[in-house]
């Protein structure tokens, strides 16, 4: 959920919309925000599955330190979504284990 009005920070400024594709679903993001923020705003919180037991993981530290929020972005696995900004047409996939590289079609 986005925070549009804020008692201290004021209203959020109008920002350019950016379309991203998350697990074959179109998600509307805002220019300049990290992937993790766009996903959270869309109600998506499980970003990857662990390699052995397939447990879900999501945002933990939010500042690029813990690597828990990594996903496959444009065919590249292990991308820290909390510090990687959205780009128009980005293809984002839930990362399973170590992830796959270069494979955007399945």
């Amino acid at each position: 959920m986005r925070i549009i009005k804020h008692p201290i920070l004021g209203d959020v400024k109008e920002k350019k919309k950016v379309n991203i594709n998350v697990d074959n679903r179109q998600v509307e993001a805002l220019e300049g925000e990290p992937i993790a923020a766009a996903l959270m705003a869309a109600g998506i919180r499980a970003f990857r599955r662990t390699i052995k037991t397939g447990e879900p993981r999501g945002v933990y530290c939010g500042i690029g330190q813990c690597n828990d929020c990594i996903m496959e972005v444009n065919g590249v696995p292990n991308v820290r979504t909390c510090v990687t900004l959205v780009e128009e047409g980005m293809i984002i996939r839930t990362q399973i284990g170590l992830g796959k590289s270069g494979d955007l079609d399945d």
Partner: protein
């Protein structure tokens, strides 16, 4: 190889303040920071700071961040963003990765201002999506303007836990519980009272024993603790929530100090192991540490320590004469003493004295 007089690792409050002081004294300075924006964690701190006027009391953290950035740009200090310092070697050579490429920087003096990292708790369910650090929640609501959840359980009542809880409410979330294992609130009363007035229950003498949920958090199990902080699970109860935040302290990030062979000391009041340093924050030949790496305190103390290290480096580089240098240093000592006074500050003041005493002992007591 890049050559410079001063290299500052970390562009948060301590590193920026160090850069401003050094830059003003015409020290050729480079600041490296692994983030895409400098300022460290200041920009998510939208509350007013405490202290006296000279410590920018009454000004919000994000505004202080903006001021520091504009001062840095006026001094001509170079700031390398998206640059991680990964190692420190003999002859003051630091390995960095800048825009994906490894490079070396050789500096006459180095200031480590690497900050601290947030502590975690482990319990069944603690890895579920929806469990995150308080700092993560603060970043999402105040910087990215997105709520991480609607019903929050906050673990920890230090100032980070209290302030983040209040800011989550300002952002439109409901804080359903604040949990504290100790018998009393850890942070300032002024913050705790704000929370209490808003009707948020603070569970003192309690801990979290489980996060429930399948794909993400859907509840928390709390239980009271005994005098040895062991949870009494027979008295546990369920709280409906979708997000659990950890505000259970910070640990200094001392890896580079250790790599520079600085001896360390464990001081609980400062967050754990910290490098031994002298009165001017020197931890090894030509290397200084400032801010949370030298003991977790607050952004205001981090800025003063940064100034101190910046001036100390400039003195060693011969950029300022001893008399003027000592005057600057003494002014900083006075401001630091003010910040380290009172019920909360005294503990930190004593802990910092212990570091300096131990360092002097190690050098054989020679000033």
């Amino acid at each position: 190889m890049i050559n410079t007089e001063l290299l500052i690792i970390g562009g948060g409050p301590a590193g920026l303040a160090a850069g401003i002081e050094a830059g003003k004294l015409n020290v050729k300075t480079i600041i490296v920071d692994e983030n895409s924006l400098p300022g460290g964690q200041l920009f998510k701190q939208i509350h007013k700071f405490f202290g006296s006027k000279e410590h920018k009391a009454g000004i919000r953290g994000n505004k202080i961040g903006e001021q520091l950035l504009s001062e840095v740009s006026e001094t001509g200090v170079e700031v390398y963003l998206n640059t991680r310092a990964w190692g420190i070697f003999d002859d003051n050579i630091v390995g960095i990765v800048k825009d994906g490429k490894t490079e070396k920087i050789k500096a006459k003096k180095i200031i480590l201002a690497t900050g601290a990292s947030e502590n975690a708790l482990a319990f069944p369910g603690s890895t579920l999506p929806g469990v995150m650090t308080a700092g993560a929640a603060q970043t999402f609501i105040n910087v990215h303007r997105v709520l991480p959840g609607k019903k929050i359980v906050m673990i920890g009542t230090g100032n980070v836990g209290l302030i983040t809880s209040y800011q989550l409410m300002q952002a439109g979330a409901e804080v359903v519980a604040i949990v504290e294992a100790a018998p009393s609130v850890g942070g300032y009363d002024v913050h705790a009272n704000k929370i209490r007035r808003a009707g948020v229950p603070i569970y003192l003498g309690h801990t979290i024993v489980e996060a429930q949920g399948n794909m993400e958090v859907s509840g928390a199990i709390l239980a009271p603790v005994d005098d040895k902080f062991k949870a009494d699970k027979s008295k546990s109860f369920f709280i409906d929530c979708d997000t659990i935040c950890f505000a259970v302290g910070l640990t200094p990030r001392i890896e580079l100090a250790q790599m520079a062979n600085s001896p360390t000391i464990y001081i609980s009041a400062l967050g754990g192991h910290v490098p031994l340093h002298d009165q001017k924050l020197k931890i090894a030949d030509s290397i200084f540490a400032a801010g949370d790496i030298a003991g977790v305190e607050e952004a205001s103390t981090a800025m003063e320590e940064g100034r101190l290290a910046g001036v100390a480096a400039a003195i060693e580089l011969g950029k300022i004469n001893q008399v003027d240098g000592i005057e600057k240093v003494n002014n900083i000592y006075q401001r630091l003493a003010k910040l380290r006074s009172g019920q909360f500050g005294m503990k930190r003041a004593l802990a910092k004295e212990e570091i300096i005493r131990k360092e002097l002992e190690l050098r054989g007591g020679v000033e």
